[in-house]
Symmetry: C2
Subunit: 430 residues, 2 copies
C-alpha cells in the first residue's frame, strides 16, 4: 500500500464536518478503493471549541487557514470556506505554490478565479479538483470531463439551483405565490435568509460558467453569463404555462452558436419531452449532449451535507489513487478566449402574456402587431384576470429571433388597452 495521504481541511461548517464524518465511517472501504489510507492532519475553522460531533484531536489546529498550506504534514488542501477572495483564495494560492493539490467545493472561487488558478496549478505541477462546486453530489464534473471525454459537447442544460427548482415546483404544485413559497423554503432550510444569491440566478451562473469552460475550452468567464433569476416569475405565468403544456424551470444553458458561445441562466418553459422536465423539487439535474454519446441526464441532490461531502471525497479519492485531470479538461495554456454570443442573439419559441382591458378589438390589435412584425403564433388563449374588466391573453410563438420578439412586444405595450409591460419567456425544446 502507498503512504497515507495527509489532508488539511479549511472550514468545518456543514460540508467540512460531513467530509470528516465520511472519512471516519467509511475509512476501510475508502482505503481499499484508493489503495491508501487518508488521514486528516490539519484543520482550520472559526471556533476551536465548538462541539461538531467529530474527532479531530489528532489534527493540527490552525487559526489561520493559509497556514495549512505551509504545513509539511499536509499533502492535499481541502478548502471549504467559500467566497472568491480573502481566506479561500489566499489558501488556494499558497497551496498551489507550495506544490500541494487543492480540492474545493467553492463555485465562486472557480467561476471567478479559476483560469488564473488553473494556470498557477499547472506551473506548479499540481491539481485543482472541484466536483462539489457544481450540482453537489451529482458527479457531473467527472461525467463531463472524463465520461464524455471523447465527445464534442453540443450543449449542456442544467437545473443547477435546488432552491429555485424547489420554489418553482412548489408554486406550481400548491398554487401559491413566490413570496409564500420562499418563506417556506427558508423555514425548511432550502433557502438562505438572504435568498438573492439563489433566486437571482448567481449561484446557478457560477456553476454554468464552470461547465462552459470545460465544454468549450475557454477561460472560465462568469462575467459573460447572461443571468436572469426567478423573482419575475408569477404564479399566473406558471399556471398559463401549465395550460399550454409547459413547466417553468430556471436553467443554465451553454452551447456553441454561429455568433459565439451562448452562456445564460434564465427561467424558461420546457415541455414534458425536455430531458430535465421530470426533475422537480430540490434536486439538481444536468443534461449533456455529446456528438457521439447523444443525450445523457444526471440527477440528484445538489446540496446538503452528505451529498456535498460525497463529491469532495470523490476528488480526494481520485487524487489519492493518482487520478488527475486538467482543471478545465485541457491544459490551461490551451484554453483560448472565445467570443460569447450576445444574450439577444437568440432564436427560439416564446411564451407571451399580456394583461389587457377586455374591450372589443384588443386581441385583433395584438395579433395584427405580431403578424406585421413577423411573429408567428402557435397558440393563443385568454384567461379572466382577477378584476372582471381585465383578461390575460397568453400563448406561444413559433421560432423567431429575440430582437424581433422584443420589438413586437414594445409595440404591443403601447396599445391603449394593454395595462402592463407584457411578459415574455423563452420556450426551450429538445
Amino acid at each position: 500500500m502507498l503512504d497515507k495521504l495527509k489532508i488539511g481541511i479549511a472550514g468545518l461548517g456543514t460540508v467540512g464536518v460531513g467530509v470528516v464524518k465520511m472519512l471516519e465511517k467509511n475509512s476501510v472501504l475508502i482505503a481499499k478503493r484508493c489503495g491508501r489510507e487518508i488521514v486528516v492532519t490539519a484543520v482550520s475553522a472559526r471556533s476551536k471549541d465548538k462541539d461538531r460531533g467529530i474527532d479531530i484531536s489528532d489534527a493540527t489546529w490552525y487559526e489561520n487557514a493559509t497556514d495549512i498550506a505551509n504545513d509539511d504534514n499536509v499533502d492535499l488542501v481541502v478548502e471549504l470556506i467559500g467566497g472568491h477572495e480573502g481566506a479561500a483564495y489566499d489558501l488556494c494560492v499558497a497551496a498551489l505554490k507550495n506544490g500541494k493539490d487543492f480540492i474545493t467545493a467553492n463555485k465562486a472561487l472557480i467561476a471567478r478565479r479559476g483560469y488564473e488558478l488553473a494556470q498557477l496549478a499547472e506551473e506548479n505541477g499540481v491539481t485543482i479538483a472541484y466536483e462539489a462546486a457544481v450540482a453537489g453530489g451529482i458527479p457531473v464534473i467527472k461525467a463531463l470531463k472524463e465520461g464524455a471525454a471523447g465527445n464534442e459537447i453540443l450543449q449542456i442544460s442544467g437545473i443547477l439551483n435546488g432552491t429555485c427548482n424547489y420554489i418553482l415546483t412548489a408554486m406550481k404544485e400548491t398554487e401559491r405565490d413566490f413570496d409564500v413559497i420562499l418563506k417556506e423554503a427558508q423555514d425548511l432550510g432550502y433557502a438562505e435568509a438572504d435568498p438573492a444569491f439563489d433566486v437571482d440566478g448567481i449561484d446557478a451562473a457560477h456553476k454554468l460558467a464552470i461547465l462552459t469552460s470545460i465544454a468549450y475550452a475557454t477561460p472560465v468567464n462568469f462575467d459573460k453569463v447572461d443571468v436572469t433569476g426567478i423573482t419575475g416569475i408569477s404564479l399566473l405565468d406558471i399556471k398559463c404555462a401549465g395550460e399550454l403544456g409547459y413547466k417553468i424551470k430556471l436553467l443554465g444553458v451553454c452551447k456553441k452558436t454561429e455568433t459565439g458561445i451562448f452562456q445564460a441562466v434564465y427561467p424558461c418553459l420546457i415541455d414534458a419531452a425536455y430531458p430535465l422536465a421530470k426533475t422537480d423539487g430540490v434536486n439538481n439535474a444536468i443534461f449533456i449532449e455529446g456528438d457521439f454519446v447523444g443525450n445523457i441526464v444526471l440527477e440528484g441532490p445538489g446540496a446538503g451535507q452528505g451529498a456535498t461531502a460525497s463529491a469532495v471525497l470523490s476528488d480526494i479519492i481520485d487524487i489519492a489513487a493518482g487520478r488527475k485531470s486538467y482543471t478545465f479538461n485541457i491544459p490551461a495554456s490551451d484554453l483560448t478566449e472565445q467570443k460569447f454570443a450576445n444574450a439577444n442573439d437568440y432564436e427560439g419559441e416564446y411564451y407571451l402574456r399580456i394583461n389587457v382591458l377586455d374591450r372589443p378589438g384588443v386581441l385583433a390589435d395584438i395579433t395584427d402587431i405580431l403578424k406585421n412584425e413577423g411573429v408567428s403564433v402557435e397558440s393563443i388563449l385568454q384567461k379572466p384576470a382577477k378584476s372582471s374588466e381585465k383578461v390575460d391573453i397568453f400563448g406561444a410563438t413559433h421560432k423567431i429571433d429575440e430582437k424581433t420578439m422584443i420589438k413586437a412586444v414594445a409595440k404591443i405595450e403601447k396599445l391603449d388597452n394593454v395595462l402592463n409591460k407584457p411578459t415574455i419567456i423563452r420556450i426551450l425544446k429538445s
Copy 2:
C-alpha cells in the same frame, strides 16, 4: 506532450467502427484532453476488404485477434468482439500477460470471467476497463467506482436493457401485445432476431453482476443472479398495474440484506415516485443510493454506435491520461466471497392477479385465504375478462415475505372457480 498511445482494436462491427470514427473526428480535442495523441496501430476483424467508411490503412491488419496482443507496436488492446470465451477471452488473457492494458465493451466476458481476469491484470500490473459494458453511453461504472467512491452503496437499481424497456413502454402506451411489439422492435433494430438474450433478462443480468461486484466487493458472480425476463408480462398485467398507479419495468437490483447480497433481475411494478419511473423507451437508467450522497440517477442511451463508442473512448482517454482504478474498485485480492440471499428471501409488496369464473363467493374465498395466510391487502379491484363469464381480480398487498405470498397463491390456485395460476409480481418502492 507524452508519447502517442498506440491502440489495437479487435472487432470492427458497429462499435469498433464507431470508435475509429470518434478518434478521427475528435482527434484534436481528445489529444488535448488526455495530453497525448491516440493512434490505431493494429486492427482485426472478420473481413479485411469490407468497406466500413473508415481509414485504417495505417494499422497492421491481423487475421487472428490474439496477434494484436503480441504486437510490440500496441500499448492498449480494445476488444469489441463479444462473447465470454474463444477469441475475446484469449485476446484478453494474451494482452494482460503481455503487460498491455485492456478495454472492452463485453459484458459477458466481465460478468463471467471478470474475477479471474482482474487477478491476472493485477499480477501483470495492468488495467482492465469496461465502461461500455454496462448501460452503453451512461458513465455509470465511473460514477459508481469514482464518483461515489467515498460511499457505502446501499442499493443499486437499474433499467439495464433498452430492448425490454422499449417493449414494456410500447405495450403500455399503445396497448398492444408483447409479440406485436417485439416484432416492431426487431424491425426498428431495437431487438435482435433472436431476442432471448434480451427478453429473458440475461443481458441485464450480466450488467447487474458487474455492478454488484463493484458495489459489494465480491467476486463478480453471474451465476448467482436470480433472473426473470419479461416474456411472462401480459398487456393485461400492464393495464391492471396502470389502474393501480404503477408501471411495469424490468429492473436489475442489488443490495445488502440480512441474509446476504440480493442480486436479481425481474419485472416489477414501480410507482411514479420511484427514481426510475420516468425512464421510458429504449433508454437505460441507473439509480444508485449511497450512505452519504443519497439518491443519484443517471439516464441515457444504453446501446448504439455513438453511445457505446463514447464509453469506450472514455476508457481509452482515462488510460491515456494515466487515470486507473482497480477492475472491481478494490484490489482483486481483496474481493471476498459473500453469501448471496436466496431469491425467495424477499419481503415486499406484491401485485396479484387472479383470473376467475364470475360466481358468487369467489372474491370472498380469495380474501379469506389471503387473510388466513397473513397477507394484508392494500387494494383489490375487478375487471371483466374477454369472456363474459370470467373476471380478473387484481390488487396490491402490503409488505409480506415472499414465501408466505407464494403459499397463499398456491392455495388460491386450488379454488374451484380460479382458472389459471395467479400472477404475482413484486412491487418496488423507493
